[in-house]
């Protein structure tokens, strides 16, 4: 198609030697307009960029990305997996920001999906109370701006939990107070790798057993209960290895002003993840509801006629069909949640915007470079989420003709 069209155009082009007749040719004109539009836009963009660089140079503003290798000089409250101190570089601060954004987004997406699914189904329940409660939840939390919700839950969390010295204590190993949740942390030496290895073996073993039982079910219709295998392989096996190997956990303990040792999740992280989850869950619940309602009533009646229980009808018949309709709007909500995580600046959770286009921007002052990098990160995260969910969406669609 395209090839023949292009060659057609060139034949036309060479046939008309006179400029005027060329300009009055409809096909040529159509292409010419588009080329002209692109040239004008490209020229404008180039001029704007050139102007900007000229101004930056004239005013003696430093430009380029050299600042990424400078020492950052400031501390960050939350840091997962990555080692970070004020002696680290700005680039490391940038990475910490990305990881913190990803962690709060993934946590938010996980809980928003679960709450959304439960509430979405609850809203269609025959039980009056459950139905009305689900409706009330959706109407309240969907209609209050997310920033207000974050500030609200943060101030609740700050004032509701006790001070570090009066922490809520779970078996002397887990502590909860107005600064965060303190958990024991495994000491990563040789012994602990046995525990991790046994866990991986347990998971692989369980997947194998589950596959076999599914196959048996497909062939004979006999259902095997795999929960005992799950508990044995995934829970008890690593526990036994943990006690047998002598692997150690590092427990948090109150020393001076704060808890030392172990690992902690800040109260800002909780407030943000919680608000994002319950806010986004309302939209996901609505998407699930519209999906379920889109499934033909006959499907449910037919399943019921076969003698399936309500829960199995929902899980095996209704939801797989409902998700086809629900996934595209849910993708949107995941993207929104990720972008909304930048509201963390309001409560001081150190994610990308707070660290990088907040503190680093202030220390360095190179607004253009820093904002461009920040935007690129959000763009990349959003595109990756879209890509993954679009692949999932394709899989859920009805196959073949």
């Amino acid at each position: 198609m395209a090839n023949s069209w292009v060659s057609h155009f060139f034949i036309k082009f060479f046939m008309f030697t006179k400029l005027k007749s060329l300009l009055y040719n409809n096909e040529v004109r159509a292409v010419l307009f588009q080329i002209l539009a692109v040239v004008v836009i490209a020229y404008f963009a180039y001029q704007a960029f050139d102007n900007m660089m000229l101004n930056i140079e004239q005013r003696g503003i430093r430009s380029g990305f050299g600042f990424l290798n400078n020492e950052s000089g400031f501390a960050v409250n939350d840091s997962f997996f990555l080692e970070y101190s004020p002696a680290s570089t700005n680039l490391q601060a940038f990475y910490v920001g990305i990881v913190n954004t990803l962690i709060v987004s993934i946590t938010g997406i996980f809980f928003a999906s679960i709450i959304g699914l439960v509430v979405g189904i609850a809203r269609l329940s025959n039980n009056y109370l459950i139905k009305k409660m689900a409706t009330a939840y959706i109407e309240i939390f969907r209609n209050i701006p997310i920033l207000l919700q974050i500030l609200f839950w943060y101030s609740i969390a700050l004032n509701a939990f006790p001070s570090p010295r009066n922490s809520i204590n779970f078996f002397d190993s887990v502590f909860l107070n107005s600064r965060g949740l303190y958990l024991p942390k495994p000491i990563m030496d040789g012994d602990f790798y046995f525990v991790i290895a046994s866990f991986v073996i347990g998971v692989i073993g369980y997947i194998f057993i589950k596959k076999r039982s599914d196959k048996k079910h497909d062939e004979t219709g006999i259902v095997t209960n795999t929960i005992p295998y799950f508990l044995g392989l995934v829970v008890f096996l690593p526990m036994v290895v943990y006690f047998a190997s002598g692997a150690q956990l590092d427990y948090p303990a109150l020393k001076g002003f704060n808890f030392k040792g172990g690992t902690d999740l800040s109260i800002e992280f909780f407030a943000l993840a919680f608000s994002l989850s319950i806010y986004t869950a309302t939209y996901i619940a609505e998407a699930i509801r519209s999906g379920v309602e889109s499934v033909d009533k006959g499907q449910k009646e037919a399943a019921a006629a076969l003698g399936l229980k309500n829960t199995r009808i929902m899980r095996l018949i209704i939801l797989p069909q409902a998700l086809r309709v629900a996934i595209p709007p849910i993708i949107n909500q995941y993207l929104n949640l990720t972008k909304n995580s930048s509201l963390a600046t309001a409560v001081g959770y150190s994610e990308l915007v707070t660290i990088f286009s907040g503190t680093v921007l202030n220390v360095i002052g190179q607004a253009i470079e820093i904002i461009i990098l920040t935007m690129l990160v959000y763009l990349t995260i959003s595109l990756v989420i879209s890509l993954i969910l679009n692949i999932f969406n394709k899989k859920m669609q009805i196959k073949g003709g």
Partner: protein, 340 residues
Amino acid sequence: MNRLLKMSAVSLLTIGSFSVQAGIFHADTLKDVQAKGSLTCGVSTGTPGFSSPDASGNWSGVDVDVCRAVAAATLGDANKVKFVPLTAKERFVALSSGEIDMLSRNTTWTHTRDTSLGLTFAGVNYYDGQGFLVKKSLGVNDVSELDGATFCIQAGTTTELNLADYFRANKMNFKAVTYDTSAQTKGGFEAGRCDALTSDVSQLAGLRSTLKDPSSAVVLGNVISKEPLGPVVRKDDNKWLNIVRWSLNAMIEAEELGITSATIDNASTSPGVQRLQGKSGKLNESLGLDKDWSRNIIAQVGNYGESFERNIGMSTPIQLPRGVNQLWIKGGILYAPAFR
């Protein structure tokens, strides 16, 4: 078709003239300000005593007085100022993009800011330092006892960097919770999210007085950093830099010579006073201003001491002592270069 060609030609020319204009760019802020008839001055979103609006929208503070002094010098009227409130994050971009003519917003003069942002500091109008506000119940008397403590700080300030520097230098550990505004920082401190709040000393006393229970917190005696605060201008306009610098110097010089807004027009035979009154000398010419420029500043805004006492002195709720912000002849470090 002809119309289309004309349109594209016009748009190309328009874009082209953009770049030409950028090429012959010459900054003359004084001319712009006088043409506009008002000075656009960047200030804080509300720092009591430094720059804050009252209920009817009138701005006051020592930083505001620097703006007013420049307006008095260039336009002859200290009230011809348009104040633009800026957050710590916005201030430098607002200045370098030309949105404001000058920045007077408790901004610390640092090497990086002075050399790499295309900006220049015109002087110092308040010598500050970083201090600590601590819960009394902790029983802490000195910063060295704060090993392992959590601090509430405001984002986008030199405070963040000084805190990290101090604890690294003394090999102590700390945690920092960084908030966007000073109100949130105070909220976090009050709710017990952190053990101590750290900020410029000039702001701690004011912050403490607005706590629900001011007696529950104490300001420590330690000062861990130098924070020379002053007005900032763009680097590309030296004439304008001189005007801002010498407007501030005129206020300091006036205090040293003992002239106030009330006594500026008194007859004096002192050559120094006469130069500030605009009666002798030609200090105005090289600045490109009227002979009355320094007289207008002192008559309309007052000298440095007047501005200090009016906005942050002991008779105000802020109650800051002059401290190092005293004239050099009285044991402070305020020192205006020679007016001649």
